[in-house]
């Protein structure tokens, strides 16, 4: 297997997760990590260069692929710089909060002829991939209703909400991508109803913490995503695709299969607490897919258009809240 040399921009939580996965992955060599804010004492292990300057990664001719795990506003400029340097790019979602900026970035990637994969890890979750397979295999027939429940275990700090682009662009964006992934279709129109029921500070910051978003798909199917910033019992991640021949449904993942029965009831453990635990397998699988695509010269399974579409759907949802009406999704 050909070994691909990779550099990482951003060593926050997700950057470290990917790096640790790559350090154990055959056929990949992590050469350098740059982050202006992180203290690299004790991590990463010897043999990986570290520094504050992104040029450490972008200027290294040996590095063929770059992982962009830095804050959202840097995603587009780093993707463009990496593409211009002829490097393949794996970029965390969202590419940017502005569709115009995303389009320019995708043009730069196109011109450079490099590969771009976007970090919609849930597509690589074995459970959700199995639901998609039931759709592809025809087990549910023609899709009629897609239903997604997506609830975080705890609300993020208000400082995060202020810069995240809001619930639709930082949280529901994964669900919008999941609707597109499960159906293989595009969202035509979005209506969202929202409320502040968990933390008034989120409302004061101009965001909502609870939302129900309905979508009409281009082929006429309906979809609904229900979000909450806080389900106290853990990360609640369920999907269902219902169609003319039946339905495919995925429940929550729990750490074990044990039920304890007593006089007061039958008890099982809570769902896996948050995304690092719940989607562990998907983070590995998305990396493996990215490097396989580079080796085999194939298009990544989740690319720039997916990154753009999810933001366009998210923007329509946000506008729907403000304008209190259904909003058509802008064309890519």
């Amino acid at each position: 297997m050909k070994t691909i040399t990779v550099g990482v921009l951003g060593a926050g939580r997700i950057g470290r997760l990917h790096t640790d996965n790559l350090l154990r992955m055959p056929g990949v060599r992590v050469k350098a990590i740059a982050d202006p804010f992180v203290d690299f004492t004790g991590w990463p292990p010897d043999g990986v260069a570290t520094g504050v300057d992104p040029g450490l990664v972008l200027g290294d001719h040996e590095i063929e692929a770059v992982l962009i795990c830095s804050p959202t506003p840097t995603h587009a400029p780093f993707t463009e710089a990496a593409a211009a340097a002829g490097k393949h790019v794996f970029c965390e979602k969202p590419i940017d909060l502005e569709p115009g900026r995303i389009r320019r970035t995708l043009e730069a990637v196109e011109r450079a002829g490099v590969k771009l994969q976007v970090g919609f890890n849930r597509r690589f979750d074995p459970t959700f991939a199995r639901v998609r397979r039931a759709v592809v295999d025809g087990d549910v027939g023609t899709v009629q209703i897609v239903k997604i429940t997506s609830r975080d275990p705890e609300a993020p700090p208000v400082s995060y909400v202020q810069s995240s682009g809001g619930i639709f662009l930082d949280m529901t964006i994964h669900d919008f991508d999941m609707v597109r992934f499960l159906t293989g279709g595009e969202v035509a129109e979005v209506f969202a109803m929202g409320a502040v029921l968990i933390d008034p500070a989120i409302g004061e910051a101009g965001d909502i913490d609870t939302a129900v978003t309905t979508m009409v798909m281009a082929d006429g199917a309906l979809a609904v995503v229900e979000n909450s910033r806080q389900a106290v019992y853990g990360y609640d991640q369920r999907v269902e695709v219902f169609g003319s021949k039946g339905s495919a449904e995925a429940g929550n993942e729990t750490p074990n299969r044990v039920t304890v029965s007593g006089a007061d009831g039958v008890r099982a453990d809570n769902p896996l607490y948050f995304f690092l635990e719940r989607y562990q397998a998907s983070f590995l699988a998305e990396m493996a897919a990215f490097f396989d695509c580079i080796r085999d010269d194939r298009e990544p399974p989740v690319g720039g258009l997916d990154g753009l579409m999810s933001v366009l759907v998210g923007q329509a949802a946000a506008r729907s809240i403000v304008e209190r009406r259904p909003v058509p999704v802008e064309r890519p």
């Binding site: 023609t142 009629q144 209703i145 239903k147 429940t149 609830r151 209506f191 109803m193 929202g194 409320a195 029921l197 968990i198 609870t210 939302a211 129900v212 309905t214 009409v216 006429g220 199917a221 309906l222 979809a223 609904v224 229900e226 909450s228 806080q230 389900a231 106290v232 019992y233 609640d236 219902f242 003319s244 021949k245 039946g246 339905s247 209190r324 009406r325 259904p326």
Partner: protein, 344 residues
């Protein structure tokens, strides 16, 4: 035990079911008469019902009959409620009372003024699982309610003839879900947004109705609710309910006629849910009649009132208005629009 003497109006599928339940499973009731234009005499005799008639007056004019169960076609419900109230009889009436608020208000007023009990056939309010769910929510088991979810899918689309006189998906089918949201949350519906589609049977679309819908609701408490409805789930009657709150969530899953699990190299197979509402809500249909008899004989609170029927119909009218306009509809304006329709 003091028996309540009951007359049944209408002996279609639901009327026969209620009659059989009254005879076999409601100890405090005695069915004296059944009136229906098309009646199987042998069926009535087998249940030991002494009076069988084609004329409803035989029931209304019988002084011994204290309570009536109305299971005639939907279009006649309110008229029969008013007639029964005028005759001083307690009333159990199938849903929907009517498709417009006006006649429901009049029927409720007639029952109130006559001093008789009026219970509406929102059977889910008597389902053991949903009663448990509502009790859990109302006793604070999930804290402050934030989101409610209802999945309602029939096993098989009804004939188009039925669709034409049913009042449409919202009034005939989703009305149960609208009532369930009120029942579970204890809060009123203040805003409705509906999207709908014809994905099951084009003939339903040709009849001017839809067969698939997602309805989003905002409640007076601030909570949100979402209903997804389909006229046809090929795997059975899909009835699931969930309430998320500040300290947890509580859910009711589908019931199955058998808990058998078959595991082979081909996979793990459980039985599909009950095949329809008669089987799924069998206990609820008995319990709602028992509580009606208790309301009549002991003055217990009525589990589903004319006001509940009114609120559900107003919400259904708002869903219809939302579907037509493509906009969310506030319930005050929906009520006004419906009143306008009724007077025009």
């Amino acid at each position: 035990m003091n028996h309540i003497t009951v007359g049944v109006i209408g002996a279609g599928r639901i009327g026969r079911m209620h009659t059989e339940n009254l005879v076999r499973a409601v100890p405090g009731a005695r069915v004296k008469a059944v009136a229906s234009p098309h009646l199987d005499q042998g069926w009535a005799r087998s249940l030991g019902i002494p009076v069988v008639a084609t004329d409803n007056d035989v029931v209304f004019d019988d002084p011994e009959i204290e309570a009536v169960v109305i299971a005639a076609p939907s279009g006649r419900h309110c008229e029969l409620v008013e007639r029964a109230a005028a005759a001083g009889k307690h009333i159990f009436c199938e849903k929907p009372l009517a498709f417009e608020p006006g006649p429901i208000e009049a029927a409720g007023r007639a029952a109130r003024e006559a001093g008789v009990v009026l219970q509406v056939g929102f059977n889910r309010r008597s389902d053991p699982s949903l009663v448990d769910l509502a009790d859990t929510v109302q006793s604070g088991g999930v804290g402050e309610v934030q989101t409610l979810r209802v999945t309602n899918r029939d096993p098989k689309a009804p004939p188009v003839d039925f669709v034409k006189r049913s009042g449409g998906l919202f009034f005939d089918f989703v009305i149960h879900d609208l009532d369930t949201v009120r029942f579970l949350s204890g809060s009123e519906i203040v805003e409705v947004f509906a999207v709908g589609a014809v994905l099951v049977d084009p003939a339903i679309g040709a009849a001017g109705d839809i067969d698939t819908a997602v309805v989003t609701l905002r409640l007076a408490s601030g909570a949100l609710a979402v209903i997804d409805a389909s006229r046809q789930a090929v795997y059975g009657y899909d009835q699931r309910f969930e309430v998320l709150g500040s300290v947890g969530s509580v859910a009711v899953d589908n019931l199955r006629p058998s808990t058998r699990v078959l595991s082979t190299t081909g996979g793990v197979v459980t039985r599909t849910p009950y095949g329809g509402f008669v089987a799924r809500y069998r206990d609820a249909f008995v319990a709602e009649l028992r509580s009606f008899v208790e309301a009549v004989s002991a003055g217990d609170p009525v589990v589903a009132t004319a006001d509940d029927a009114l609120a559900a119909v107003r919400a259904a009218a708002a869903a219809r208005a939302s579907l037509a306009s493509g906009r969310p509809v506030r319930l005050e304006s929906a009520a006004m629009a419906a009143a306008g329709d009724a007077t025009s």
